[in-house]
């Protein structure tokens, strides 16, 4: 019988890293021990545990990681709770990759890039940031503004400090919502911090995070003189098929699972605001 795109393949979770009190990163390989498939930064995949359910997650690892793919997943809802409770070595199912991904090999090339993330919003950014680091000379200067509730809620903190912060041409600006004793960095919300930092308006912006952060940061960027065509984001909606068929993620003439999840804000302006 022919293979249907709704039928997943079996994969193994080989490593689980605890990132924050409610975020873990899951390393997934195929039964042959290799990476299950190739992807573009910003794309997603369906993970499932039969009997628990299937859910769509943004792929966190960069395509340049040759051995596995990783997902940083926040605990919220049925499938994620099960994942957070699982042990290494257990099999799950996977299908994908889905969606358009970021234009890393076209529109981003030669540009200064500004990444703005909040909380678990770093997950999709992580993939594109590491991709750009890998092909460093294709892109201009890289700025990363990343904020979370507290220091413990910053995902990938060690990698950020030990690697991203050490590289020439990359400026990392971390912030947390409230002051705490072991934190000597910036304190405050992401939208305000972006304003304070004041960026050159020639940059291409990629922004992922909770809706309020997106809303206020976008307004700030517009005030600073950025155009909506320069700002990219990823959308999260309820998904089932991820193939543009079950109808669930339809907004206007777009299906977020296949036409997205990456959109520029000028593209979103042409859609009903049902997200």
């Amino acid at each position: 019988m022919r293979h249907d795109p709704l039928i997943p393949v079996i994969a193994v979770v080989t490593k689980i890293r605890v990132d924050t009190p409610d975020v873990k990163t899951f390393r997934v390989v195929g039964l042959d021990g290799k990476k299950p498939f190739e992807h573009i930064p910003g794309q997603c995949a369906m993970l499932s545990m039969p009997g628990v359910g299937e859910a769509l997650f943004s792929i966190t690892s960069s395509p340049t990681q040759e051995d596995y793919i990783e997902f940083s997943i926040k605990k919220c809802g049925c499938v994620t709770e099960w994942l957070h409770a699982m042990e290494e070595g257990k099999q799950v199912t996977i299908r994908g990759p889905y969606g358009n991904g970021f234009p890393v090999d076209t529109a981003f090339v030669g540009k200064d890039l500004l990444f703005i993330g909040g909380g678990i919003g770093l997950a999709p950014l992580h993939s594109v940031i590491n991709y750009c680091r890998h092909y460093r000379d294709r892109y201009g200067k890289i700025d990363i503004v990343y904020g979370a509730r507290s220091k413990a809620d910053l995902v990938d903190f060690e990698e950020i400090i030990d690697q991203w912060c050490q590289e020439d041409g990359i400026s990392v600006h971390l912030t947390i919502d409230n002051a705490q004793p072991e934190w000597d960095g910036h304190v405050g919300f992401v939208p305000n911090y972006v304003q304070e930092l004041g960026f050159d308006t020639s940059k291409t912006v990629v922004m992922c995070g909770p809706p309020v952060m997106i809303k206020f940061t976008l307004a700030g960027l517009m005030d600073m003189g950025f155009a909506r065509e320069q700002v990219y984001t990823t959308m999260e909606l309820r998904m089932k098929c991820a193939l543009g068929k079950c109808g669930r993620c339809n907004i206007g003439d777009k299906y977020v699972c296949k036409d997205g999840p990456v959109f520029r804000f000028d593209q979103l302006d042409e859609l009903p605001d049902e997200y």
Binding site: M1, H3, D4, L6, P50, G51, N250
Partner: protein
Amino acid sequence: MKTLSLSKLDALFAAISAAQKLYIPAEDAGGQARFTPWQEGLRLSSKLNTARSAKDLFFPQVENLVGFKVSGKQLEILETRDVTEDFVLFGVRACDCRSFDVLDRVFLAEPADTYYQTRREHATVVTMACRRPSETCFCGTFGIDAANPAGDVTCWMDDEQLYWRANTPKGEALTESLSCFADGGEEAVAAQQEATRAILAKLPLAGLRTEGFGGEHMMELFASPKWAELSESCLGCGTCTFVCPTCQCYDIQEFKNGQTVRRFRCWDSCMYSDFTKMSAGQPRPTQKERFRQRFMHKLFYFPENNEGVYGCVGCGRCLQKCPIHMNIVKVMKALGEEQK
């Protein structure tokens, strides 16, 4: 064109079903017409159309996708797909036949849905021209000719004869496998078509037009104040989506039985609050947004993505079945006025 005396209709059905499964519209004990596997003695319904649409044959309400066996840390994938054999779907009306084109645009788009695709490939669709369209019919609005339906074979029926015209290689193959036909019938069919078209032109909904609908009016009509009023009494029951031949939203669910998990899909409805609900929020918080989605999709979003093809075929089922008598015609009229 071929023809056959209606007295030999049973012989025709018997001949077709000797080689493959045959479905015809027949009435159940409650008097509703539905596509039913033919067997000796089953009578063709004289109703204008089946209560549920013909989509059931290609996109059933529930179907198994795949199974899993869970043992400790290990998983195994189990093939649970039903075997599909060739079948003939007889008596499909022009509107329902067009609905297959609409469904094809969703399910056969890359990557194709192979469950649907397999059924489509195994089916030979034999349509039946309408003679007595009803006051809820408006297929003409979408450029469908009820007197000349598409399909692999088109049939016409009068009080004495069945007329049969093969349109596709599949239809020709079916015709060639049957030896009961005589040639002829062109004149009788032409006369019937003329009479039917005269009735169609006088139907109460014959004047309903699609001007003003389509992708270019999407944002303008999304914002229309009419949606609040139109959706006010909607119960969110989903009846309109289930009886609709073009509604194709689905859900994927699982059924656990010991170590075995069956993953199946079932029809879903954009009219349900659950449809878009997430742990992070609800983009369509009230029935107004859900109601709007159903009609915006059929009249604006779908044509924008499909060369102007609308997601409605004018079958009239939602006009007959909605418990509060709301329907796409009322929506089109209200939005049409809005644009004036």
